[in-house]
């Protein structure tokens, strides 16, 4: 058991537990906070894969912007922040059987796949610079790069439009 494996297993357990609590806790703010724990777990996975830039990007965008936006929305629109009633629906037994079957099937599929045994290769020092070059090189991802900015522009216009009509109504 190398140290990386221990860290991976710990992080996986924490992330899965947090994801489980997101859907089972009746208090919505607690659900948002557990979601933040799960997102942080994903960031730790990125670190374990030597993708440091993705890890900080995950924290900045998901935790620093999206989670805060979600918490704003929850706090502003819900008068009562607890779910009332039971947390399980009437058909939960069938759902449990189905998900157990799906889980078993996925585990069997992964086990029977021939995964490479070699560890992940060493990440070069200049990985972020390489990413930057790839983002703007014509043989690389320049079109998705520019389209992403157009997409963000469209998202902003859409959001402002929706919120604006809401404000006028």
């Amino acid at each position: 058991m190398t140290a990386m494996q221990i860290v991976f297993i710990l992080t996986a357990v924490v992330t899965l537990f947090a994801a489980f609590r997101v859907v089972t806790t009746p208090n919505m703010i607690h659900a948002a906070l557990w979601l933040i724990v799960a997102l942080f777990g994903v960031a730790v996975f990125y670190i374990l894969l030597s993708a440091s830039f993705l890890a900080v990007a995950q924290v900045i965008v998901y935790i620093g912007a999206i989670a805060i936006l979600m918490m704003f929305v929850i706090m502003l629109t819900r008068r009562e922040m607890r779910d009332r009633g039971p947390q399980t629906g009437p058909q939960w037994k069938w759902a449990a059987i189905l998900s157990a079957l799906l889980f078993g099937g996925l585990v069997w599929m992964v086990e029977s796949m021939a995964l490479p045994a070699a560890p992940v290769g060493d990440v070069p020092e200049s990985s972020i610079a390489d990413l930057g070059k790839a983002l703007v090189s014509p043989n690389g991802f320049v079109i998705p790069f520019e389209v992403a900015s157009v997409l963000l522009l469209a998202a902003l216009i859409g959001a402002v439009y929706v919120a604006w009509t809401r404000r006028n109504s």
Binding site: L76, R78, R79, I128, G132, K133, L135, S149, L153, R167
Partner: protein, 117 residues
Amino acid sequence: MNSWLYIGIFVALSLFFPALLAVLGWFLGPRRPNPVKTDTYECGLETVGETWVQFKIQYYLFALVFLIFDVELVFLYPWAVAYHSLPLYAVAEGVIFIVLLAAALVYAWRKGALTWS
């Protein structure tokens, strides 16, 4: 990986120190709760109404505009790091990206999404 190990240890410590302070304060201070002390503070009066806040769309709009810009900035950092080995057209592509974003800012500005009323 070693630097992240150090960071991880440092972050754990930086969570530990305030927690230690809080525990210290909890034990060193007296604990005499009574109904008046544990009441919610509202300028010295009894609380009126439920504890929820009026929905003002400004909060949501500002957070949303911030989200858009945050994602954009995350795209710009690799470009900035690779800057020195980029030819001119690559710099121009980055500038186009920024200009499109500035257009988004101007749109939000003109539509009044950035006013706090």
